[in-house]
């Protein structure tokens, strides 16, 4: 079920960021409402942090991508393909990674979510554009394009990888062993394709969907610093107190200035 939710979010990201992507042939779940969540094994606590990420002011124009050399990808867009650097829909900001930055008991370990985090290559763009993953959790890399992609990860604390995925439907799984603040991911066949992965020591993270919403689940009671991180607009932090088995709210607002 989690995977479906993530999938739904991915589709949402694509629909917005791609400048009007045609209905994909992938399994489609109702887009928009599904908040992205880190997987939460049943053994985990019942607290959560829910909120929205807003964007204040006029959304900056995203750069167009010339995909004329890749007809199969270009054909997935009705208009010009846009690089979804800043994805704003009705004032809400997607592709923001939200995670517990501090407040967890020192030395505490958490079970690795059994569900993989999925990164999809579709329409010659990464979906999502920003990811969080727990060290040891599976990263499922999927090619939904009938063209060659290579996916290259450039970590410094983890080992790198560079995998060729020449055909549509090919999936590959990799894991990162060590927490790392930012692992850039790129495709060298399509130089415009970029994503960023944060590798965390715990499973308390989410990525905001098209509607800006997110939920971090499985938290024990406590006071946490939540960081909201956008690849282009920077980071914001907020302190929240989660009651036992209860929900706390954390709303973030980014602006075009990037602060």
């Amino acid at each position: 079920m989690r995977q479906v939710l993530i999938g739904g979010m991915l589709l949402t990201v694509a629909a917005c960021g791609g400048g009007g992507e045609k209905a994909g042939s992938d399994t489609a779940t109702p887009a928009g409402a599904a908040p992205a969540a880190g997987a939460a094994p049943t053994a985990m606590a019942g607290g959560s942090v829910t909120g929205h990420v807003k964007f204040d002011g006029a959304a900056p124009a995203n750069p167009t991508i010339d995909m004329s050399e890749e007809a199969a990808c270009k054909g997935k867009y009705t208009g010009p393909a846009l690089d979804p650097v800043v994805m704003v829909t009705n004032g809400m900001l997607g592709n923001v990674v939200l995670y517990v930055k501090s407040g967890l008991p020192a030395g505490q370990t958490y079970p690795v979510p059994s569900e993989p985090v999925v990164i999809d290559q579709r329409g010659c763009l990464y979906h999502p554009r920003a990811l969080a993953i727990m060290a040891g959790q599976k990263l499922e890399i999927k090619n939904s394009d009938p063209v060659l992609h290579n996916i290259k990860a450039l970590p410094t604390k983890n080992r790198p990888f560079n995998i060729s995925q020449p055909t549509e439907g090919m999936t590959t799984t990799r894991t990162f062993t060590t927490p790392e603040d930012n692992v850039p991911v790129e495709c060298n066949v399509h130089g415009w394709m970029h994503s960023n992965i944060i590798v965390l020591p715990h499973p308390f993270f989410a990525v905001s969907g098209e509607d800006g919403s997110f939920t971090i689940k499985g938290l024990p009671a406590g006071t946490y610093e939540i960081e909201a991180r956008h690849a282009k607009l920077g980071t914001k932090t907020m302190s929240v107190t989660v009651p036992a088995d209860g929900a706390a709210t954390a709303d973030f607002t980014f602006a075009a200035t990037g602060t």
Binding site: E69, V147, L148, N150, I151, K152, L154, T156, R159, P160, F161, N162, I163, S164, Q165, P166, T167, M170, T171, T172, N188, V189, H190, G191
Partner: protein
């Protein structure tokens, strides 16, 4: 090394190795090595730090004069491995790189400099520069036995190349000119070429079919080249197909690396000379490889040449001399697709000599140099002559497609003649230029322009430049003086003379023997006069 090129072979060697050895020697350590007592660090400090840096970060004083740059050992990321994508190399992998060097880069072989023990020690030391090696035991991937090559296997390999879309980077003919080639960068955002698969003497990891196949399986970490092992596991491609691909790639390059010969022979043809660079007559004309290296004598120097040599073919019909010069350059400059490439070249190579590269792409260039007078035994200064002793030059540019004939008084000092009596035609085809140049043996102006008489070795030199990489008339690939020799037509006496000589020699022999016998009979005391 003086300015005059007196020994071409030595000169080329000096240019090529000057950077390598020179840079390595910049940071010569004061440590004196005993053959047995050498530690890896001592070896490293003496021989490696000049390029790879004191801490192994790939930032030695010689590093900025190289592209690709020296390996940063602190990252623990290595291109040429027998291990899976992202894995550390084995000790044998590292030892092999040190021992054999890396063709196509500034990394020389060290087997002729360092003992087995020293090389093994330095490998141990290099591993200590990255924490990733602590407790690691990298294992080579299992590799199947290579199926033998056949025309069918090679043809299938070509299909696999298409299926896996290798052409996206390597280009349809494998010359490193694919659509994505101008955007390629290494882990440090520096420009990196998609390998020209038809010039395997620059393959970093070896030229055998097994080595080529291994690169597919392991990828080249730190570069855009991915591993196809996951595609194999996912049955997107079969092991046999990958072997066929390796056979096809191998088939693109000559059996052996081109051999350098001092003299380009222009055969005499009895029929018509070829009229275009793609005339079928060129297919059978002998090819001569002229190596070129980056110009590092006068400023601005150039350490990242695109063109590493030209193939020269020459024919004449006693009236005209025609040359076809063929070389690989992935870009037909200027080309907006390559703006991104030039941007990275500017970022990476501008610090050298503090003279920034032009922000706009110039044309591709090829210049052919001759002395103004062939009879001279002394050749002009090899860098396009000088003021006192200029050279006669044919200067071609790709955009506009134009050939100027004139005088060069050193690189960059070109004065065009009022009229040109040289005709040319150029073809750009998937990362290859083919340029034909034709002139009468007797020039229209004989006062300062050499005639091309058959039977004489005429000095000739070449300069090439790739505009998309920021190259120009000075930042260019240069070569030493070679010679071109126009075959002399064969007169009838050539056939008569040997027969006459044979008869004469035989007759003389009979005479001498007969005379000697007579003398021997007549006077034994004077036998010593027989000789």
């Amino acid at each position: 090394m003086t300015g005059r090129a007196s020994g071409d072979g030595i000169f080329v060697d000096c240019l090529a190795l000057g950077i390598l050895r020179g840079a390595a020697l910049i940071a010569v350590a004061s440590v004196t090595l005993g053959a047995q007592g050498a530690t890896g660090k001592a070896v490293y400090d003496k021989w490696c730090a000049g390029c790879h840096g004191d801490t192994g970060a790939g930032d030695g004083p010689g590093s900025e004069y190289m592209l690709p740059r020296p390996r940063d050992f602190t990252k623990g990321i290595y291109q040429i491995r027998s291990t899976a994508s992202g894995e550390l190399p084995t000790d044998a992998d590292l030892l092999r790189m040190v021992t054999e060097g890396m063709p196509g880069t500034a990394m020389p072989e060290w087997k002729s400099v360092l003992t087995d023990r020293e090389r093994s020690d330095v490998v141990t030391y290099i591993k200590s520069l990255s924490d990733f090696f602590k407790g690691a035991a990298p294992k080579a991937i299992a590799i199947s036995k290579a199926p033998s090559s056949s025309p069918e296997a090679i043809a299938d390999g070509r299909e696999v190349f298409k299926k896996l879309e290798c052409f996206k980077c390597h280009g349809e003919q494998g010359r490193g000119d694919g659509n994505s080639a101008p955007t390629l960068k290494d882990d440090f955002d520096r420009p990196i070429r998609a390998a020209d698969l038809s010039e395997n003497w620059k393959f970093n990891g070896g030229t055998s079919v097994e080595e080529i196949y291994t690169r597919f399986r392991t990828g080249l970490d730190g570069t855009p080249m991915p591993s196809f092992s996951d595609a194999l596991d996912a049955k997107v491609v079969t092991d046999e197909q990958l072997w066929h691909l390796a056979h096809w790639v191998r088939s693109l390059s000559p059996e052996k690396a081109p051999e350098v010969r001092e003299v380009v022979r222009a055969a005499r043809v009895t029929g018509a000379l070829p009229r275009t660079p793609d005339d079928s007559a060129w297919a059978t004309a002998e090819r001569f490889w002229i190596p070129l290296v980056g110009q590092i004598i006068t400023k601005p120097r150039w350490f990242a040449p695109t063109v590493d040599g030209v193939w020269v073919q020459a024919l004449h019909d006693e009236k005209q001399l025609t040359l076809r010069v063929t070389w690989h350059d992935p870009s037909r400059s200027p080309d907006p697709e390559w703006d991104e490439w030039l941007g990275r070249m500017r970022q990476t190579m501008t610090a050298v000599d503090s003279l920034p590269l032009s922000a706009t792409q110039g044309p591709d260039r090829l210049t052919v140099l001759f002395p103004t007078r062939v009879s001279d035994t002394e050749r002009p200064y090899f860098l396009g002559g000088d003021r006192k002793n200029p050279v006669y030059a044919w200067r071609w540019t790709s955009a506009p497609d134009k050939l100027d004939v004139g005088r060069l008084s050193g690189l960059g000092n070109f004065a065009a003649a009022a009229a040109s009596d040289v005709t040319h035609a150029a073809v750009f085809d998937h990362g290859e230029w083919r340029l034909q140049l034709t002139r009468s043996l007797v020039p229209s102006d004989t006062s300062a322009v050499p005639g091309f008489a058959p039977g004489v070795a005429i000095p000739i030199a070449f300069v090439a430049a790739d505009g998309s990489s920021g190259e120009d008339e000075i930042r260019a690939s240069i070569g030493a003086w070679y010679a071109i020799y126009l075959d002399v037509p064969t007169p009838p006496r050539v056939y008569v003379a040997p027969a006459a000589t044979m008869l004469l020699t035989a007759g003389l022999g009979v005479f001498v023997v007969a005379r000697a016998r007579r003398r021997e009979r007549g006077n034994r005391r004077t036998t010593q006069e027989e000789s």
